[in-house]
Symmetry: C2
Subunit: 79 residues, 2 copies
Amino acid sequence: MKARVTVTLKNGVLDPQGKAIEGALKSLGVDGISGVRQGKVFDIELETGDKAKAEEALKAACEKLLANTVIENYRVEIA
Amino acid sequence: MKARVTVTLKNGVLDPQGKAIEGALKSLGVDGISGVRQGKVFDIELETGDKAKAEEALKAACEKLLANTVIENYRVEIA
């Protein structure tokens, strides 16, 4: 079973990395971009075939390691 | 106009970061995970309202900066 976890910064949290990317794109001549925020994506392969169990394991993974829930949101999609 | 760009490693490219996450999850007691591959996600705000123009700018951004097309794939989703 495959799943994708997307971790993004919460609204209001400063993203200097995104700002740097925005600046770099401007200086490379890519126009029309007014904001960039960077996040992370994890493609996870699970042993179980049970969707509920998979969801539980992924939630635990996010809370314990993948996301800093003080400043980040996460979203779990099971394929 | 908002868009999301997802950059993931191509199949066959080693991902030591993903392997480290997999090991860390095991040692944290999260069971049932047999593989992790990490990628990046960019939430991009565009000035234009024209979808074709937006797509063109995003493709340029990916090719020039966001993705290393030798080892990475990218996917553009316009919301």
